[in-house]
């Protein structure tokens, strides 16, 4: 599903050039659950942004769904993204002016799905995430755990092939964190590929494989016993 070949990402500001990713070679298969770990500033988030088609690499190759996409335009990336990728963020990133229902509905709107179909899909996912009773509330009226459940609902509502999670439990207490991890595991078992950035060794236990990054390099890749490619 994802393959990078000698991929580099360099940020250039007026004075300094920072190499965020250096010769990264990673391959992630469908239905995998991968955790990316490493200290602050090691390039985890940059990698996730490239995977999420939010950013282009500076050089090297990046294949997504068998397409070489490293030179795609913003519009091409947007089209590929909205059909195939769901995001879960540490800070939830819900739109404050939209209700729970409307937040979850948003990706479907950009996919141009009909109103009836949307209704079915949103209701489905909200029921599944047990947040249906809150559908007309605004994000600010929910607890952190509830907000993250909404965010996960939004990430999965369009049935993406890939879910990218950036410290999904970072802003949650342990009970709520556990719940989110269980949801992600369940989604993975149903066939969704998951790539998760995390600081938490506990969370990384849920993954099949842990990739350690340091100063923009992949340093180790640990496969769990229960899953081998």
């Amino acid at each position: 599903m994802i393959k990078t070949v000698n991929m580099r990402k360099i940020y250039t500001t007026e004075e300094v050039e920072t190499t965020a990713l250096n010769s990264v070679n990673i391959e992630i298969n469908e239905k995998e659950f991968v955790a990316i770990m490493g200290p602050s500033g090691c390039g985890k988030s940059t990698l996730l942004n490239v995977f999420g088609l939010l950013d282009n690499p500076t050089d090297g190759e990046f294949h997504f769904l068998e397409q070489e996409v490293s030179k795609y335009s913003e519009r091409q990336r947007a089209n590929l993204r909205k059909a195939n990728i769901g995001f879960v963020f540490q800070s939830f990133n819900l739109i404050d002016e939209l209700t729970v229902y409307e937040n979850v509905e948003l990706p479907l709107l950009y996919l141009g799905i009909s109103s009836n179909e949307r209704n079915k899909m949103v209701t489905n996912v909200l029921e599944r995430m047990q947040i249906m009773h809150r559908k007309d509330h605004f994000p600010q009226q929910l607890s952190g755990g509830q907000q993250q459940r909404v965010a996960v609902s939004r990430a999965v509502v369009a049935k993406p092939k890939l879910i990218l999670a950036d410290e999904p439990t970072g802003n949650l207490d342990s009970a709520n964190g556990e719940e989110v991890m269980n949801i992600l595991t369940q989604l993975n078992e149903e066939g969704t590929t998951i790539v998760m950035v995390t600081h938490s060794p506990h969370d990384s236990e849920f993954a099949h494989r842990i990739i350690h990054l340091f100063d923009g390099h992949v340093v180790t890749e640990n496969y769990k016993e229960k899953f081998h490619v």
């Binding site: 089209n79 993204r81 909205k82 739109i95 002016e97 939209l98 948003l106």
Partner: protein, 805 residues
């Protein structure tokens, strides 16, 4: 998707009530100004358009310069129309209009003096579109002493009686029979009448003089006529009539005169252009000017621009609040154009709310605006089927204008950055934003300066030494109606000690009679000089406190003064003679030549509006028992209410039931500058509104900037900065902007206002003070606005602001 946009937009408006209020109110006030000005412009452009044949109607005017005599007049000779109809096939019809003075009309016990009584040819109704309520336009004015009256005159004289066939007596002389009632003349006409008498009643209408230009003549011209060609045809055709008469008087043929640089030309004016373009002598009414249309249109556009700039500034300043949303939407697959569409839709929604509010504001303030602008406009929102679609198009236009830049700006955010909060502290300093604020203030300051200068010029006009004393002079009009009783009336007035002086005259300052050519006897070349003529009694100079330069004014002690004449300095100068007293002035006439001896030179006084230089004037004395239409009364300054009621009772004793019409001279003179006064009022209002809108924007911006710097303020305060220091810190940037705005506004205002002042022969000089005061005023207003937020931020507890971080 669209519904989603609208939902978010409405929730955003509701969530940030203060910002939304500032944004929408600013836009609404701007749009309200714009609509008001558009209504004004529409009204100005609508003049005379109610005439269905309007674009075929032309007015015949004359441009004459013979020797020092000049005339630019919309009047032409009595036979002109008929001759053109006969000789030139393109002329389909014509009508003449003449005003024979202000008659006093009577019906039973009702008596009124009427100023809008005109005699016209029966063809009047073929040319102009007039709606008859009673009577037949074809025959209404074919007989002598027939009169067509307007609806309101019918009510005024006849109440509920049927006016048809009733008799109106004029000046105890002629009986006019009412043969028609027509609708009142629309306000947007260059010419208003209450009574139209049949011109055939007057023998003068059959005069064969080609040199007396006393008739307003309107032509109906065949469609598609080339008017340039027609004008040439007219000028060559009438030569055969005019030339012999000119030769008889001047001894030279017209062609010889033309070779000397003299002019005797007719030209035609399209009816539609009279109101805005015609500024000839003897206009029916004081016309407006196209330059006002331009000025006000520019002001409207500028105010709208200022309001849109507020919108742009506030939206971009607040952008960080929306950045997250943009990031999320993009992450979820929205492309840039969809985001742009969303924000423009939002701006259009705001602008629609603003238009709605603006319409309400206009409905409320239109009567006030009408009052100031001297108009009777209605917004007509619900009368005109186009106005609602037009308003919708207008709000879309404003929304796009105001929303485009914020939309492009916001949509450019990279999700990677905004979602990682890298943009949080935002771009407080933006070149574009400071540029826009500077522009707003430059325009506001320029408007301020303009308003000040207009007001100063008007004040100057009103207080300028006119060479006579205009204070405490009451003018009683239509005194010619008293006939020979006028002297007794004057004597009656003088029995009251508060009546200081009384004088009867044919003209008063600001309301001048006719012109005549004259020459100085026994001077080489017999140079003909055009001069204004007025006739008065011996008390005129005393009543107006005129000063003599040479010789003396008329006096009772010199019975021979009826053969004498007083001139002004300008006439002396025109003849280039030093000692003019004792010389003789000759007035050539059709029948007889009159000669008067000059006994005095009066110092120049402004008997006309200050738009004009003082022109040569000759003053004659009434012969025994002669009388004129004005009595000027100089009264004591105190107690004037009693004095006026005394004037009225005295008037009633001599005039019986006649209407007592009086005015204060200074007010009459102020009316000469009515156009300027109105312009000034309108300009004042709009410049206040412009700066109000600019300040609204500044208020929002200041709130934003202060909020942005809360942490900085907290740190500075915890390090020991005082409140004033913080306020200064926060105000520094705005001060800089306003100062730069001054640098732009001053030359701009100087250039424009200097041009405007050229309209006046007597004008103020531009002093730096006006500019400095306007600049300081704008700065103070801006600082006051900014400090509302700055002081609040500076006095807040630093712990709070640091914890907030």
């Amino acid at each position: 998707m669209f519904i989603n946009y609208i939902k978010v937009a409405i929730r955003n408006i509701m969530k940030n009530k203060v910002y939304s209020f500032i944004n929408i109110l600013g836009l609404a006030v701007g749009i309200a100004c714009c609509i008001a000005i558009l209504l004004y412009v529409r009204d100005e452009l609508s003049y005379d358009k109610f005439n269905t044949n309007g674009n075929q109607i032309y007015r015949l005017c004359i441009n004459v310069k013979v020797g020092n005599t000049e005339a630019h007049s919309p009047k032409s000779p009595p036979l002109m129309g008929a001759a053109l109809l006969h000789d030139i096939p393109e002329v389909l019809s014509f009508t003449r209009i003449r005003n024979f003075g202000y008659p006093v009309l009577r019906y039973k016990d009702k008596t009124f003096s009427e100023e809008r009584f005109f005699d016209v040819d029966s063809t009047f109704f073929n040319i102009f579109t007039v709606k008859f309520l009673e009577g037949d336009p074809k025959v209404a004015l074919t007989q002598p002493y027939n009169v067509v009256i307007t609806e309101s005159m019918a009510k005024k004289y006849f109440g509920n009686e049927d006016p048809m066939g009733k008799i109106l007596n004029a000046d105890h002389k002629n009986d006019w029979i009412v043969t028609g009632v027509v609708q009142d003349v629309p306000k947007n006409s260059h010419f208003h009448y209450d009574f139209l008498g049949s011109l055939t009643s007057s023998a003068d209408s059959r005069s064969t003089s080609w040199l007396s230009n006393n008739y307003y003549t309107y032509l109906l011209i065949r469609k598609g006529t080339d008017t340039e060609v027609l004008q040439k045809k007219i000028n060559s055709d009438i030569l055969k009539y005019i030339s012999p008469q000119i030769s008889a008087i001047t001894g030279a043929t017209l062609n010889q005169l033309r070779k000397q640089g003299d002019k005797y030309e007719f030209f035609i004016q399209p009816l539609y252009s009279i109101h805005l373009f015609s500024h000839l002598d003897y206009e029916f009414e004081s016309n407006s000017d196209i330059s006002y249309i331009y000025i006000f249109s520019i002001i409207a556009a500028v105010i709208l621009l200022i309001a849109c700039i507020n919108f742009v500034n506030l939206e971009t300043a607040r952008s960080e609040k929306r950045a997250k949303e943009v990031g999320i939407r993009k992450t979820l697959g929205s492309n840039r154009s969809q985001i742009i569409g969303q924000f423009i839709a939002e701006a259009v929604l705001m602008s629609m709310l603003a238009v709605l509010l603006a319409v309400v504001l206009d409905e409320i303030f239109l009567p006030l605006f009408n009052n100031i602008a001297g108009k009777e406009m209605s917004s007509g929102i619900f009368e005109n089927i186009y106005s609602i679609p037009l308003l919708i198009i207008f709000s879309i236009f404003v929304g796009i204008m105001a929303g485009s830049y914020p939309a492009f700006y916001l949509s450019s955010f990279q999700p990677v950055k905004v979602l990682k909060s890298e943009l949080r502290r935002g771009n407080r300093k933006s070149v574009l934003r400071s540029g826009l604020v500077i522009f707003q203030f430059a325009v506001s300051i320029a408007l301020f300066i303009g308003t000040f200068i207009i007001n100063n010029q008007l004040k100057y006009i009103q207080t300028k030494n006119l060479g006579f004393n205009k204070e405490q002079v009451i003018i009683i009009s239509k005194t010619d109606d008293l006939g020979s009783q006028i002297q007794s009336f004057e004597k009656g007035l003088l029995t009251n000690p508060d009546v200081l002086k009384v004088s009867n005259s044919s003209a008063i300052p600001g309301n001048q009679g006719g012109d005549s050519g004259c020459s100085l006897k026994d001077t080489p070349g017999n140079q003909l000089q055009d001069a204004r003529i007025m006739t008065c009694d011996e008390n005129f100079a005393g009543t107006y406190k005129l000063k003599m330069k040479q010789g003396r004014f008329f006096s009772d002690e010199h019975p021979s003064d009826t053969a004498a004449i007083v001139v002004n300095e300008a006439l002396t100068k025109a003849f280039g003679v030093k000692n003019i007293v004792g010389k003789y002035l000759v007035f050539p006439g059709d029948v007889q030549t009159f000669t008067y001896q000059i006994i005095g030179v009066v110092k120049n006084f402004n008997y006309e509006s200050l738009h004009k230089e003082i022109r040569p004037l000759v003053i004659r004395l009434y012969p025994d028992k002669g009388f004129g239409q004005f009595v000027s009364v100089r009264i004591a300054p105190n107690n004037y209410k009693n004095t006026i009621s005394f004037l009225e009772t005295t008037w009633k004793r001599y005039a019986g039931n006649e209407a007592f019409e009086y005015n204060f001279l200074d007010k009459d003179l102020a009316n000469l500058y009515l156009n300027e006064q109105r312009t000034s009022n309108i300009a004042t209002i709009f410049s206040i509104l412009a700066i109000f809108i600019a300040c609204l924007g500044l208020l929002g911006l200041a709130a934003f900037v202060t909020e942005q710097r809360t942490k900085e303020i907290g740190i500075r305060k915890s390090l020991g900065a005082s409140v004033p220091e913080i306020v200064i810190l926060l105000s520094k940037e705005f001060t800089k902007w306003v100062l730069i705005a001054n640098a732009i506004a001053w030359p701009l205002a100087y250039f424009i206002m200097n041009n405007w002042l050229r309209n006046f022969a007597y004008r103020i000089n531009l002093t730096p003070w006006v500019f400095i005061v306007s600049g300081i005023l704008a700065l103070l207003i801006a600082l006051l606005t900014v400090s509302i937020h700055a002081i609040r931020a500076a006095t807040a507890n630093p712990i709070l602001s640091l914890r907030y971080e």
